[in-house]
Symmetry: C2
Subunit: 341 residues, 2 copies
């Protein structure tokens, strides 16, 4: 049995879902992967919990962020450095929300953890968008893992496939439906429902946020495209390198026209290589029925990698709720520690 | 730079393609993964080549099996044990064709290599169908890797996703179009071409073998389903546990009827869990347009994993030529040695 210390940074929706997944899978992790994950600390902005075995605390599974200070082991003002000093080295699970431009506050925490020889499993996109290549290099230098499935599609294992399954092939392009909210809206528009009404429905169902700008303007797609392109190609594109057009200027007539012709309009993120130059773009595109992503409807997501030796490889999936992100974080940790074939 | 010794077992179509991929990717492997693969031996049934750096031999890229004895370092009668004695430990790349029932001759070679602390990347299905679970356990005990992407879909990274990307989730079922030949034939039948004519076309185009029984009777699909189910669930199903029906009894009228209704008939391999009992089956199935594998036409393959925490995850791809299998072998080796994030 291999014990591994886990420090959880952030106790929002993803952090809580991760805790619940840890509770639910404890015995399976032991049996199948010979792995015992010991949750040693939970850090929030007001302080943290530090204890030998947080998972054994009875009310943990139902705890909200407000309940954490009432749990056993709470220390007001406890910070990451204190914890890294006191706990045997393991994995930092980062579940903050962070700025896409600066990557903060998560970026600084991740840097400190990597520099001190901790593995990191990241769920927020900011640090990857701001400094993905640099973080991968830092991890390599420190001889630790930096993984981020929870930040790059969660239940769509795009980073896994792009980095590991296609290793040894050259990725010459990619094309993805990377944002569930816009895809849901477009699917409803395809059924004849106007944009505003489809958006309102998405908000009502908890699919779209109250401020849906990041989704419908294409920014979320651009960030995911940027992160995936950088990690798969080991490139260093910036967000400003991505040409972005969202779905807000699409007219109902355009969508209806596509539907009449048996086609669909989708918001595609694209990495293309033209005459040796790589270009990143996000824009609505008309897909014909034969297109590999034609069937990706509703909140589902999908991505096609174009490669030299393996041809095109398409991945479709997409539970994008916190539980999917939590499962992706867990999968990353198993890959670091568990006995996988 | 990390050097790794490679011993190649078999120099048929896949073995030769693997050698060419090694030649083509040498500099990329060094730059990107810090990895130097040293091809130290090539073994055939009549003897083998043993040399410090086989890849540097000028005519290697064009060599056929008959040319190997003319290359520098040829030793008639050289066997695997001689080579394992003489070469520093590394990875055995198995590219034989072997019996699906007994797994031989590959199985014995793989067992000996694992027992002596060599990693193994396998391309033939026999050993996995005959003793997949046992080989995985042997590798674990020996502390080495046993990987088999080249045997389980090649360019469709089904084993990667099933084992690694879905680690931590529970796979509760899977459904796959796993055989390119039957899918090609069904796609042509869907277009109104009779079975015999579609089969003849597949044979003419090198898609179907001259004896297509294994494909059209569903056996190849059954073997792939068996291997994937066993490795993903760590189960120990036998080929006799799979209920198999091929496509030979499908009438043109049935296919035409599906086409008229906008549906498609596909040969599906299925793992289902019903009331806690897992069942494996292969049979033609009528797919509706919304089905995740509906678009998988021609020689393409596809698989959907149904999971508890990640929902369904679908993978579509499928270059199934020797180059795809060779790329899959290389990917497995990079995963063993290379610096991957």
């Amino acid at each position: 049995m291999r014990p591994a210390a886990v420090v959880l940074l952030g106790f929002g929706r993803v952090g809580r879902a991760f805790t619940r997944v840890l509770l639910d899978t404890r015995s399976r992790l032991r049996e199948r992967y010979g792995l015992q994950l010991k949750l040693r600390a939970i850090l929030t902005s007001r302080g943290g919990l530090l204890a030998e075995d947080i998972l054994s605390q009875p009310r943990l599974g139902e705890a909200s962020r407000e309940d954490v200070p009432a749990l056993s082991g709470w220390r007001p003002g406890l910070g990451l450095d204190d914890v890294l000093d006191k706990v045997e080295r393991g994995v930092l699970v980062e579940c903050l929300s962070s700025d896409l431009g600066t990557g903060e506050p998560a970026l600084g925490f991740i840097r400190r953890a990597l520099a001190r020889g901790w593995h990191v499993a990241a769920a927020s996109k900011g640090p990857l968008a701001a400094a993905g290549k640099n973080l991968m290099e830092s991890a390599r230098r420190a001889g630790v893992f930096f993984r981020f499935s929870g930040a790059t599609g969660a239940a769509l294992p795009a980073a896994d496939v792009g980095i590991r399954s296609l290793a040894g092939s050259q990725v010459i392009g990619l094309e993805g439906i990377l944002n569930g909210t816009t895809n849901f809206i477009l699917t409803r528009m395809q059924e004849g429902i106007p944009f505003e009404q489809a958006l309102a429905e998405a908000q009502r169902r908890g699919i779209a946020e109250s401020d849906p700008g990041r989704d419908v303007e294409g920014l979320d797609t651009a960030v995911k495209l940027l992160i995936l392109s950088n990690v798969v190609l080991e490139a260093d594109f910036k967000l400003s390198d991505v040409k972005v057009e969202g779905i807000t200027r699409l007219s109902p007539a355009q969508v209806a026209q596509a539907a009449r012709e048996g086609k669909k309009i989708k918001l595609l993120g694209r990495l293309e290589t033209k005459e040796g130059v790589q270009a990143l773009s996000v824009a609505p595109a008309v897909l014909e029925p034969g297109h590999p992503l034609f069937q990706v409807d509703g909140v589902e997501k999908g991505i096609t990698f174009f490669t030299d030796t393996m041809g095109p490889v398409t991945l479709i999936g997409g539970r994008s709720d916190p539980r999917g992100a939590a499962a992706a974080l867990l999968k990353d940790i198993i890959g670091m520690y568990g006995r996988l074939t």
